[in-house]
């Protein structure tokens, strides 16, 4: 069996899912905590139109950073995200086939689908499903989306989120993600370790709390201004258009800033609840507006 490099794993998954009629998208260019936050998931699961999409999404979890020292924890890890709307009846089998494409001979392994219900509070999104365990290692989150933006999804979508570093370390039989072979003769450490260290230093030690709060509030204000009444319309006429995608970008900005503040230890439990509620309020408004528009 040939051993795939990190980038080859991505190529294989992209090829496989494009053969399953997925649009292959690019990572979103705003910081996100998970592939779910990419607009290609958040908006596409709303409304009745069938859609299939797959993409890589580098995902930032400031609190999980370990200065590039811990062999298994990363500030930014790489997710491969698939949305299947509506889910095909053989969705589990299709998913397992994708693992075979990565060189995993299923017969020689222990595959389990263990209950794991997923929720993204700032997106008003949740679903039911499993974590897929491969020989004791969680490699994929497999979810039947039930709600997003606080709206019942009709139809449901399946979301697959592969943890690429874990899968790569598994395939290459290495103990540390930094030993993963990225491609072109470079290791994961050579490509990513400096960034891990620098962002950890910033998130844990240097981030200026008042500044981040103030940026958070600026983005939130701008989002609310856009959602406001007709008087904000540039053209001044009565029909006011709300660019929901732009509002959503501001939500993502807020969400990421919240995560940095959290990693910095600046958020108390009560504040956490209220900040998340503020972001969720925005994303749910965005989802309602978008959903109304596409079903009109």
């Amino acid at each position: 069996m040939k051993k795939l490099t990190f980038q080859e794993i991505i190529f294989e998954l992209e090829r496989f899912w494009s053969q399953q009629d997925c649009v292959i998208q690019q990572p979103y260019d705003v910081e996100v905590g998970a592939g779910t936050m990419h607009p290609e998931t958040f908006f596409r699961v709303l409304g009745p139109t069938p859609y299939r999409v797959a993409y890589v999404q580098p995902s930032r979890r400031p609190a999980d950073g370990r200065y590039g020292v811990n062999p298994n924890r990363l500030e930014k890890h790489t997710q491969f995200q698939v949305i299947l709307k509506p889910p095909p009846v053989d969705v589990q089998d299709v998913y397992l086939k994708s693992l075979e494409k990565l060189g995993i001979k299923l017969r020689d392994h222990d595959i389990k689908f263990e209950e794991d219900n997923w929720e993204a509070p700032t997106l008003g999104a949740w679903g039911m499903g499993w974590q897929v365990m491969l020989d004791g290692l969680e490699i994929t989150q497999f979810t039947y989306f039930q709600q997003s933006g606080g709206l019942d999804l009709n139809p449901a979508s399946v979301e697959l989120t592969y943890g690429l570093e874990r899968i790569a370390a598994f395939l290459m039989n290495v103990d540390s993600v930094f030993e993963i072979e990225w491609g072109a003769g470079k290791t994961y450490a050579e490509v990513r370790q400096r960034a891990e260290r620098e962002f950890s230093i910033y998130n844990f030690e240097l981030a200026d709390i008042p500044t981040l709060y103030s940026i958070f509030e600026s983005y939130e204000r701008e989002a609310r201004r856009l959602l406001g009444g007709p008087k904000n319309s540039a053209s001044g006429d009565e029909t006011h258009y709300i660019p929901v995608l732009q509002v959503y970008d501001f939500c993502l900005k807020c969400s990421h800033l919240f995560n940095v503040l959290d990693a910095r230890g600046a958020v108390s439990v009560t504040e956490r609840v209220s900040l998340m509620a503020r972001v969720r309020d925005l994303t749910c408004q965005v989802a309602r507006l978008y959903s109304k528009e596409i079903t009109a």
């Binding site: 811990n70 062999p71 298994n72 509506p86 889910p87 009846v89 589990q92 089998d93 397992l96 299923l106 017969r107 020689d108 392994h109 222990d110 595959i111 389990k112 689908f113 263990e114 209950e115 219900n117 679903g127 039911m128 499993w130 491969l134 020989d135 004791g136 290692l137 039947y144 039930q146 019942d152 999804l153 009709n154 139809p155 449901a156 598994f170 039989n173 103990d175 108390s268 439990v269 009560t270």
Partner: protein
């Protein structure tokens, strides 16, 4: 075999059903199927209905099912006989039209007698249809009507809901497929083998074949067989290395419900990790990886070997790929735990206290720092009251150490270890306290604070742990009630019932004699400093809540090691007295149970009832203070005798109360019986002279007050006292 019956097999094929719900779901489905057959008059043979399940299938087999529904015989009542037939016995138009409407001949009409007279009746027979038809028409609804703890949809919100998506339905009756449709899935006679090992389609004709074919296709249908396989193989694995397994029935049943073909294997880890506390290693293995822990064969609890047993859903691991991967995952987990252990230890628990100010216990009830202070206050209160002065057990608990443990008890919430392993809170704090040189009593108190986990599990071994366990729970319960969050019906989002049971169990088992009502009042006063609520009403509802839960526990003495055999009415009698020393309650109800068998008791209880009635009917309100008795108003010797008897009794009781000799108290009360009987024989309470009447009344009232301190004897049911 009767050719009028056939075998019914129903298999609902699903995507992996969560292990924790599987058994319940299977039971629900077979209940629904049984009800469906019964309601549709489809006879089921003696063999009944058998249910099997795996994570991917819910299976019911009914070996003998009648091929036809039973006919439905119905008697329809028509007009009165006098209307239906003329005096000559000839049918009238009314009879003809009634017969016609019910599709029977006039000649076949019968007469039935009712309380209102004779009526005409028609006996109709509705022919049963074929079972196959009934199954076709109803099975989809049977499957979808199963009550689910957490349903989901996988097509559209108005499509089918189930615990996980239904992907196939295999249904065979009498060798033939039954056709129906569940959502988008068409039932057929096809099933499928193991997802990975034998994913082929299998045509089904009978249950026996089905089970054998599935076994060949690497599916062990029967959960008992899976359990047996896991246990046997584990036995083999541990015996090879001179070890034993850390028993874990919950984990065992998880694995039974997680695989269609479970196979255990043994893995190893670096013995260097054994320097970490066993509690932490066990939590990583059990809770995070679902591994069984392996102990030294002759060792005790916590004598871990650097091994584990995992269960895979596969036949074997010939290349060792699976074992190596599991070992690598465990190594990474242990390395994390080791890192947390070492870095957490660098910060003293004491220094974490200020961090607790940022950790919210409950928005309105404040931070964990505030909660810890309240726990400390309550712990001190308890210690002062259970061990007053220099009593024999005073040395068992030291006030200073108890408040020290209370102050530190929540500090581990700020540790990385507890963030990673929330189930280890308390335990981690105890381990850190010990490691950082806190006195042994303090570290053990912190360690044990969350015990007992439930009514069946052990209470803290040490007194400090017991005191903190009570203080912590009382703070949470009173706080929730103060905020108006109290359990209603089956809803108990804050788990207050569990907290109440734990409190009661600790008090009874550790014999902590305190006035629970006073303690709750004190706890409410502490909450009053932060939030506003009606104190008196809240206290009443807290006590009502505790009364119900205490009764539940007291009636099951095995739960706290109390004496057995007490009866419900005895408990009610004792609990009616509003005493809140639960240990005293327990002792009193036991004494009552014993004393009740003696001869004077029953008629005394009758007299008590009489006295209580007299007092109740009088409608006179009494303020505090003893009722005044004026001996100069006595007209009979029996009055005087009773008055003296009560006075003597009161004297004796004082001493007995101090010694908590409840049997002695009850015997003293019972000894008054002849005096009371004579009083009622000779004396009319309702005397003409209001002053005399009032005086006699007061005499009874003072007797009543002595009795009621022990038990409300009117609650005792006379019949039960005959039970030996």
């Amino acid at each position: 075999m009767n050719s009028g019956v056939g075998e019914l097999l129903l298999e609902v094929g699903c995507e992996e059903i969560p292990a924790r719900f599987l058994e319940e779901l299977s039971r629900e489905l077979s209940t629904k199927l049984g009800e469906f057959l019964r309601e549709n008059r489809i006879a089921v043979g003696e063999a009944g209905l058998r249910a099997f399940y795996t994570p991917r299938r819910l299976v019911n087999v009914v070996p003998q099912v009648a091929k036809r529904q039973a006919d439905l015989e119905e008697k329809v009542i028509g007009p009165p006989k006098g209307v239906a037939f003329d005096p000559h016995g000839k049918p009238t138009r009314a009879a003809m039209s009634f017969a016609d409407k019910n599709g029977v001949k006039v000649d076949d009409l019968t007469i039935i007698s009712t309380s209102k007279g004779d009526y005409v009746a028609a006996e109709k027979t509705q022919k049963g249809s074929s079972t196959e038809k009934v199954l076709q028409g109803g099975l989809a609804q049977v499957i979808l009507s199963v009550q689910l703890p957490k349903a989901m949809y996988w097509t559209t919100p108005d499509g089918p809901h189930f615990l996980r998506p239904i992907r196939w339905v295999c249904c065979v009756f009498d060798g033939k497929p039954v056709r129906f449709q569940v959502g988008e899935v068409k039932a057929s006679n096809n099933t499928y083998g193991h997802r990975i090992l034998q994913p082929r389609r299998i045509a089904v004709r009978s249950f026996a074949e089905y089970r054998d074919d599935l076994l060949k296709a690497r599916v062990l249908l029967d959960p008992e067989k899976r359990l047996e396989r896991i246990q046997t193989e584990i036995e083999l694995l541990v015996s090879k290395v001179e070890a034993k397994l850390l028993e874990d029935r919950v984990l065992l049943s998880t694995h039974v419900n997680l695989s269609e073909y479970p196979t255990p294997f043994m893995g190893e880890f670096d013995p260097g990790f054994l320097k970490l506390p066993a509690e932490i290693l066990e939590a990583v293995m059990r809770d995070h990886q679902k591994y069984f822990c392996v102990l030294k064969k002759e060792g005790g609890e916590g004598d871990l070997l650097p091994r584990f047993v995992a269960v895979i859903d596969n036949e074997a691991d010939p290349h060792g790929y699976i074992r190596r991967s599991h070992e690598r995952v465990l190594r990474a987990r242990f390395a994390d735990a080791e890192f947390f252990w070492e870095s957490d230890l660098k910060v003293k628990l004491e220094d974490r206290f200020t961090l607790l100010e940022k950790v919210v216990f409950q928005e309105k009830l404040g931070s964990y720092a505030e909660k810890s202070s309240r726990i400390g206050n309550l712990a001190g209160w308890i210690v002062d009251r259970i061990f007053p002065g220099a009593s024999a057990v005073a040395s068992a608990v030291n006030r200073e150490l108890a408040t020290r443990a209370a102050r530190l008890c929540k500090c581990d919430l700020t540790s990385q270890m507890v963030k990673e392993f929330p189930e280890l809170q308390g335990i981690v704090g105890g381990l850190y306290a010990k490691e950082q040189g806190e006195p042994l009593e303090v570290s053990r108190g912190i360690y044990e604070q969350y015990q007992p986990e439930n009514l069946e599990s052990p209470v803290p071994a040490g007194m400090i742990g017991a005191v903190i366990s009570i203080a912590d729970r009382i703070d949470s319960i009173t706080g929730s009630f103060a905020l108006g969050h109290r359990p209603t019906g089956s809803r108990d989002p804050f788990g207050l019932r569990r907290l109440a049971y734990g409190t009661i169990k600790v008090i009874l088992e550790k014999l902590i004699s305190i006035d629970l009502r006073e303690l709750c009042l004190h706890a409410l006063e502490l909450h009053k400093e932060r939030i506003d609520f009606p104190k008196k009403e809240t206290l009443e509802s807290v006590m009502e809540f505790f009364r119900d839960h205490a009764a539940y526990v007291l009636l099951q003495p095995h739960l706290f090691g109390g004496p057995s055999g007490i009866l419900r009415d005895e408990l009610t009698a004792v609990m009616s007295t509003d005493h809140w020393d639960l240990c005293g309650l327990s002792a009193r109800v036991h004494a009552l149970h014993e004393t009740r068998k003696r001869e004077n008791f029953d008629s005394l209880a009758v007299s008590f009832k009489r006295i209580k009635n007299i007092i109740r009917k009088s409608g006179v309100e009494f303020e505090g203070g003893g009722p005044e008795i004026d001996p100069s108003l006595f007209e009979h010797d029996e009055e005087r005798e009773l008055s003296v008897g009560i006075r003597d009794l009161r004297q004796r009781l004082i001493d007995l109360q101090v010694r908590k000799d409840y049997t002695g108290i009850l015997e003293s009360i019972a000894s008054l019986r002849p005096t009371v009987d004579r009083f009622f024989d000779k004396v009319l309470v309702n005397a003409e002279d209001p002053r005399v009447r009032r005086n006699r009344f007061n005499l009874l009232l003072s007797l009543y007050r002595e009795f009621i301190q022990i038990a409300d004897f009117s609650e005792l049911q006379p019949a039960t006292s005959a039970i030996p």
